[in-house]
C-alpha cells in the first residue's frame, strides 16, 4: 500500500494490519489537524508532497525500523485539503512486547517528519494562507548516497 492517500485514513484497519497472534502489543501515533499554529487560528490546511520520494524515503524508514526492532509497521499520510480534526498521519507498530512497539513507533514518526518531502499550507480563520516552514534541519545523508 502506498504511504500517501488523498482519502480519509482508516485508523482501525491500519491497526489491524499489524496485528498477529505473535504480537502482543500495538503502539500507534495519530496526527490530527490542529486549530491553531503560531498564535493564529487555523481553519484548514493543504498537504502537498513529492510523492515518489515520500514513498521511497518512507520505505527506507520502515526498513530501518524493522532492522532495529522486531516489529511490523504500517504508515499512512494524507495529502490534499484537510479540515481541523481530520487525521493527517497514522503510524501503527505491532510487536511481541510493548518496548519495541513504542520505540519503533516514535522512531518512524520522528523520521517521517525529518525526511519525508511533504509540505503544509495553512488557511487562517482571519484570512490569508501561509506555508509552515519549520527551521531547516540538516538531513542526515545516508552513507549509500555517496557515489
Amino acid at each position: 500500500m502506498p504511504v500517501l492517500t488523498s482519502t480519509r485514513i482508516d485508523v482501525t484497519a491500519l491497526l489491524g494490519s499489524v496485528q498477529s497472534p505473535a504480537r502482543g502489543g500495538i503502539a500507534s501515533f495519530v496526527g490530527v489537524v490542529r486549530d491553531h499554529h503560531g498564535g493564529r487560528a487555523v481553519a484548514r490546511l493543504a498537504y502537498s508532497a513529492y510523492a515518489p520520494m515520500v514513498e521511497a524515503e518512507c520505505a527506507r524508514i520502515i526498513f530501518e525500523a524493522q532492522r532495529r526492532w522486531p516489529v511490523a509497521v504500517a504508515l499512512r499520510h494524507r495529502i490534499g485539503c484537510l479540515e481541523v480534526g481530520d487525521v493527517a498521519i497514522v503510524v501503527a507498530v505491532g510487536a511481541a512486547h510493548r518496548d519495541a512497539a513504542f520505540e519503533a513507533c516514535r522512531f518512524v514518526v520522528d523520521e517521517v517528519k525529518l525526511r519525508a518531502p511533504i509540505w503544509k499550507q495553512e488557511s487562517y480563520v482571519d484570512g490569508g494562507v501561509g506555508w509552515v516552514e519549520p527551521a531547516a534541519v540538516e538531513p542526515r545523508i545516508p552513507a549509500e548516497s555517496a557515489r
Binding site: 521511497a56 518531502p117 503544509k120 506555508w131 509552515v132 534541519v137
Partner: protein
C-alpha cells in the same frame, strides 16, 4: 579508443511548495558542465527571477534520495530542491 566524456549534461530540476511559488514554475530542464554539483544547480536556480528567496543551502535530493550539496550531478538526474519539510 574511448569516446570523450560529454562537456555538458542535461538534468531535470524540480521545485515544490513555497519555492515553486517564488519562482513560478515546478520543473525545469538545465544543461550543466559535466563536472557540476548540486550546489551549482542551486546557484543557477537562485540566479533566476524570484530565486534569491531560496536559501544558499537548501535541502536537496537526487533521484529520490537526500544528498549533500557537494554531490556530483550526472546526465538524466532528477534534482529536487526541497523547502523545509512539514509532514506529520
Amino acid at each position: 579508443m574511448t569516446a570523450a566524456a560529454p562537456a555538458t549534461v542535461a538534468v531535470h530540476v524540480l521545485l515544490f511548495a513555497s519555492y515553486a511559488e517564488r519562482l513560478g514554475f515546478e520543473s525545469l530542464e538545465l544543461r550543466l558542465p559535466a563536472s557540476e554539483t548540486v550546489a551549482g544547480v542551486v546557484e543557477r536556480i537562485r540566479a533566476l527571477p524570484g530565486g534569491n528567496g531560496l536559501p544558499i543551502q537548501p535541502l536537496c535530493a537526487v533521484n529520490l534520495t537526500h544528498v549533500p550539496l557537494e554531490y556530483p550531478v550526472t546526465a538524466g538526474d532528477e534534482i529536487a530542491i526541497l523547502p523545509p519539510l512539514a509532514g506529520g
